[in-house]
């Protein structure tokens, strides 16, 4: 079977939905972070597939940039989580409510 545009879009929609579900439901910060990456890559997939089916390279170039920046962002995010864990001895979102009055 030949894979059409809507297949790709469906996959990326599923990926995005799973990521969102993970962000909202899961308790562990690391898992939430991974789900967040999932959502990001779903968006990347959409970009690439549109670029492929429209015969334009712009989207793919953009994705390269996104991946590069995302790598840097992951490093920063993980560093923050590690720092937080060191301070609080926990990576669960229920414990992180010190902003509440």
């Amino acid at each position: 079977m030949h894979a059409g545009l809507h297949h790709y879009l469906f996959v990326s929609f599923m990926l995005f939905g799973l990521g969102l579900l993970g962000v909202i439901m899961r308790r562990n910060l690391l898992v939430i972070y991974m789900s967040l990456e999932l959502m990001l890559n779903a968006a990347n997939l959409v970009l690439v597939s549109f670029s492929r089916f429209n015969n334009k390279l712009d989207g793919q170039v953009l994705v390269f940039f996104i991946i590069t920046v995302a790598a840097a962002e992951v490093a920063v995010g993980l560093a923050l989580i590690v720092a937080l864990y060191r301070k609080r001895q926990s990576a669960h979102v229920e414990d992180l409510t010190s902003m509440k009055l």
């Binding site: 969102l20 939430i32 992180l96 409510t97 902003m99």
Partner: protein
């Protein structure tokens, strides 16, 4: 140029030379004396009949056009001479009087500021400019009266003077606004021509406008019922009393009335003359039972100002300005001589502590005598001529009540002045200080002598000629001899005036020559007590106006505290507080709740954007 020299000196002293007494005072004296010399030169070159105006546009708002303009004519030139001449003498005198004072430089800065604002009033060519300088005079007199602000009484007196003046100025401002509203201009000359062309323009409100403008004069010239500030203002240094309360500031009201005489109609003039006459009588009565040397002279100033205002009201601006000028000479002289006595007595002001000072202070004694004679109106001193002009004016207007008040006040004036004279200079020493009194230095006695010369000769050196040319179209110029004999033309008021002087003198002589205590309280009983307590005006005002004011203030305070702050501000604050508390519940602090709400929001947005 004459106008701005004192301002320049005030600025220079304040900014640079506050530390050096001598330099500051020399700058200040120099400014006034230069002004005097320049006025003299100008008059020499142009004569008194010169009349000119110069103005530059200052600001224009809508139809209101305000010029910063100067007006020179016979009236303002004579006043220029008085302000700079008498002012100059007082400045020189202050150099001696204030010599031991720490803040002499500050004193001279204030004096220069005052001279500047007074010259501004004299030279102003429109109402607004006059009002600005009017207020400046108020401020600088406040500063000068409260010069010894360490004394609470001086501070109170300064405040009292300022507030009482403000009351009058309030009316003045209303009057100015009314004139502008009705006539559309503030310039004196424009107003005069408009009114001359169309006398009914002011219409029904003419009386009201006139009286409102008179309110200003009432404050500055200390007329009843706003007279209470002047005696208290004696807390200031004596040269200030001489400058402000004899020669210039209190004269501003009378000057303003004469300047704007064309605005007043018969009814308002009548009210003005009655108030003037009443003030003259009241103040003369109060003066009879005062014991402070400066207060006696202050009440006498009040009474003489009453004379002038009365004369303006009797439509006799020439006589009023004549008396104003001679009064400036002899009253400044009296004040300065009193100051010399006070210095000689080491700041003792009670006349019953003095006595026999004629031997200790001969120059002061002599000049004081001349001042006294001039004030009482003994011929041929200047006061005789001006007082005679006033009485003649009253008679000419067939106002016999005011004429008799005038004569009676003349008798009272002689009485209290000679009471002062006998008690202070004659008789025996009544205290140790009196026997150790000493004559003042030359820098103080020289201005005294200069003023004494003018007090003597002021009656026939042509003052009436100059004023007459301002107010009467056809005024004949009189020679010196004619002026000296002028009172003989109208013999009845002269005889009445002289009779009054004689009566007053003999009463004073019989009561106070060689007296060691005041015999009047026993003879007059309650009347004397009332006089001494100034007819309880201060107490009356205390009980009525000040109480009412306090009550109003309390009501305002209550409204502010309970209605504004309690109800309105409280409600707003409470409402904000409550809604804040409610909204806080929405902030769970849980990251995932936020994420969920965020997604929900995006979904809603997408639904609205795409779903339709």
């Amino acid at each position: 140029m004459i106008l701005f020299l004192p301002l320049l000196s005030a600025a220079v002293i304040t900014l640079f030379t506050l530390r050096s007494k001598t330099i500051s005072s020399l700058i200040s004296i120099g400014a006034v004396v230069t002004g005097f010399v320049m006025t003299l030169l100008f008059i020499n070159a142009n004569g008194f009949q010169f009349s000119g105006e110069t103005s530059t546009n200052w600001l224009s708002i809508g139809g209101l056009q305000i010029d910063f303009g100067l007006k020179l004519d016979a009236l303002s030139m004579m006043m220029l001479l008085v302000v700079t001449g008498v002012g100059g003498a007082i400045h020189i005198y202050s150099f001696g009087y204030m010599h031991d004072d720490r803040s002499m430089a500050r004193f001279f800065a204030f004096m220069s500021l005052f001279t500047f604002s007074m010259l501004g009033i004299v030279l102003a060519n429109n109402f607004l400019m006059m009002f600005i300088f009017w207020e400046l005079v108020g401020v600088s007199s406040y500063l000068l009266i409260g010069f010894w602000f360490e004394k609470p009484s001086a501070g109170d007196a300064a405040k009292k003077a300022f507030i009482t003046n403000r009351l009058g100025d309030f009316g003045f401002l209303f009057g100015i606004l009314m004139v502008w509203g009705l006539l559309g201009s503030l310039s004196f000359s424009t107003l005069q021509t408009t009114l001359a062309a169309n006398p009914v323009l002011l219409g029904a409100s003419a009386t009201l406008a006139g009286l409102l403008i008179f309110c200003g004069a009432m404050g500055k010239s200390a007329q009843f019922p706003l007279h209470v500030w002047l005696p208290d203002a004696m807390e200031g240094p004596t040269p200030v009393s001489a400058l402000i309360h004899a020669a210039t500031m209190v004269a501003a009201g009378v000057y303003m009335l004469c300047r704007t005489l064309f605005l007043f109609n018969a009814e308002s003039l009548h009210v003005i003359s009655c108030i003037g006459g009443f003030t003259a009588l009241l103040a003369a009565l109060m003066a009879v039972q005062q014991n402070d040397i400066k207060r006696i002279i202050a009440y006498s100033t009040l009474s003489q100002l009453g004379y002038m205002v009365m004369t303006v009201g009797l439509n006799g601006p020439t006589a009023a300005m004549f008396h104003l000028t001679t009064h400036a000479f002899f009253k400044a002289l009296l004040f300065l001589a009193a100051g010399s006595v006070i210095i000689g007595m080491h700041h003792e002001q009670d006349i019953w502590q003095m006595g026999n000072l004629r031997k200790k202070m001969p120059v002061t004694f002599l000049t004081f005598t001349i001042g006294t004679l001039a004030l009482c109106g003994v011929p041929p001193f200047s006061g005789f001529y001006s007082k005679d002009a006033i009485l003649a004016q009253a008679l000419e207007q067939h106002n016999y009540i005011l004429f008799s008040i005038g004569v009676f006040v003349a008798a009272l004036t002689t009485f209290y002045t000679f009471r002062l004279f006998f008690v202070v200079f004659m008789g025996k020493e009544k205290s140790k200080a009196a026997s150790h009194a000493h004559e003042s230095s030359l820098v103080m006695t020289l201005p005294l002598i200069a003023l004494a010369v003018f007090s003597f000769a002021g009656g026939f050196i042509g003052i009436t000629n100059n004023y007459g040319s301002q107010f009467a179209a056809a005024h004949e110029q009189l020679s010196v001899a004619q002026q000296a004999l002028e009172p003989l033309h109208n013999i009845f008021p002269m005889l009445c005036g002289l009779g009054a002087v004689a009566v007053g003198f003999f009463l004073a002589y019989s009561l106070y020559n060689n007296a060691t205590t005041d015999p009047l309280p026993e003879k007059l009983g309650w009347l004397s007590r009332a006089m001494k307590n100034r007819f309880y005006f201060d107490e009356l005002y205390e009980a009525t106006f000040i109480r009412a004011h306090d009550f109003l203030a309390a009501v305002a305070d209550w409204i502010d505290r309970w209605i504004l702050e309690g109800a309105i501000i409280g409600a707003i604050r409470g409402g904000t507080d409550l809604s804040g508390r409610a909204l806080r519940l929405a902030q769970t602090g849980n990251l995932q709740t936020y994420a969920f709400l965020f997604v929900l929001g995006v979904a809603l947005l997408l639904y609205f954007v795409l779903g339709k």
